[in-house]
Chain length 281, copies 2
């Protein structure tokens, strides 16, 4: 089963369920709210939303919690010159950090000073309440998977020991296009994850190269904070990021970044210059 969130002509958003080869509207404003609805799988088509889709939105628009794991693909850990970790390295993003699968990503300031980099990631969407859950319970609470790119402003990320400020620029993490339920996509089976910049494949990996797999991550996170339906966990990026290249390479206005996970989906984001940069304000 596939779920998505669309923008509607009344200025809001709406969750949709793919049924019988078409997208059916629901009464939920986004997939996160839909997942928190009991028996959402059997929910009837919405009757109260005669709105039409006008554009795309993040699969979950306002998660209360976004937890991200760094250093999680063995190949990426190797390229960054680190040892395999004993514990997952975790940081947070905000709901404001998310954007649509096809949205432009605006460079904060000049490309030379921002050092904007790509990070293709498998994202987990939580479907049940999890607190101090074991791995098996966590696995059964996964609502589904989607695609993210953890675009990182390396200049800010490297200013201090904590990454948040380089990882939480508003509207820089596309999430989508759809949530795919676990019966249709199994990361443990080894799904190809890749990132192309202007058509050139920069990152490629397999979702079975994760040090901490989705169930292990949810279980670990639930050891310190409760997870709820609609919460999002990003699982880290494979090898091939720009900062690890020799010499390092970063994104520029006009670049097009495609992020793809086999059987789950494709993001396509164009990098644009900031208004500030253009006008000199």
């Amino acid at each position: 089963m596939r779920l998505r969130t669309v923008r509607t002509d009344d200025g809001g958003t709406r969750a949709e369920i793919h049924r019988g080869a078409r997208w059916s509207p629901t009464d939920a404003p986004d997939v996160g709210v839909l997942l928190a609805t009991p028996d959402w799988r059997s929910t009837a088509d919405a009757t109260t939303h005669p709105t039409s889709p006008t554009g795309s939105a993040p699969v979950v628009t306002t998660p209360a919690k976004i937890v991200c794991c760094g250093h999680n693909y063995r190949a990426h850990i190797a390229e960054m010159g680190r040892a395999a970790p004993q514990f997952p390295t975790l940081f947070a993003k905000f709901a404001d950090t998310l954007t649509a699968w096809d949205a432009d990503i605006t460079l904060p300031g000049a490309a030379e000073s921002a050092l904007l980099d790509w990070e293709a990631e498998l994202a987990i969407v939580v479907g049940d309440v999890l607190s101090r859950a074991d791995r098996e319970t966590a696995l059964s609470a996964i609502a589904g998977y989607t695609v993210a790119n953890d675009f990182s402003v390396r200049a800010w990320q490297r200013r201090t020991p904590q990454w948040l400020q380089g990882k939480a620029f508003d509207a820089t993490t596309p999430l989508g296009p759809e949530l795919v339920t676990p019966d249709e996509a199994d990361p443990a089976a080894g799904l190809r994850i890749s990132c192309r910049v202007n058509g050139v494949e920069e990152q490629v990996g397999s979702t079975d190269d994760l040090v901490f797999d989705p169930a292990t991550l949810l279980s670990y996170i639930s050891g310190f904070t409760v997870l709820r339906p609609g919460d999002v966990v990003l699982t880290g990026t494979p090898g091939g990021v720009g900062i690890a290249a020799d010499p390092p390479r970063f994104l520029r206005p006009g670049d097009v970044v495609e992020t793809e996970i086999e059987g789950i989906g494709l993001l396509r984001n164009r990098i644009t210059a900031s208004h500030t940069e253009i006008t000199g304000r």
Copy 2:
């Protein structure tokens, strides 16, 4: 002016305003929602909430964004053996991390393995929308100040390079008891901030020892993410944390921690063993 959030006998929460020597109820469920209400200063007493206060709650119960600054008091930076920073070191907490000013703080597991430490902090509550704001604009958008203790599970904080997992245990950051508006409390004037454990003063500092003052922090954060009414910024802790002692000292069940900022308020939190530890489950 002072604002607070109380628990009510209907199981919810409610914001109250201190007027004419008594606390007046409002229609807002917490101070964050109250601050997002236009003309909240002149709002009439609630007529739709005939509920009675039954307990305390965090001043803001569900902020969309909690941003925390580490390494911000010159004295604490010195005790940790670091150089004065050029940029604020920032990390996030979740709304679930917050708890009431008088709540018990539950040790996650055995005291010996958790290494629970104290961190007295001045907290800022945002009162207006801020995006790429200059320092002056940021200063005028401060709704007020309150007291926090960034209780830190050092064992988890030190597992990886990113602090989140040691800083975001559910219900470990008391925030309160009241928001005090800037006309009544000015951190730049040098307010005494202190932390006592079982009556012994462990931390003491002055809010004019901040490397990045409240307006500078809000301005800096608004450079990458929008701040909105009810968002919370923690400004860092002064010298005297347990992990910096020789030998290091950590909290144990039964300890009582008092966190105080002159003219703003006092937190009083008792450390309790976790149910898991007691029952052995």
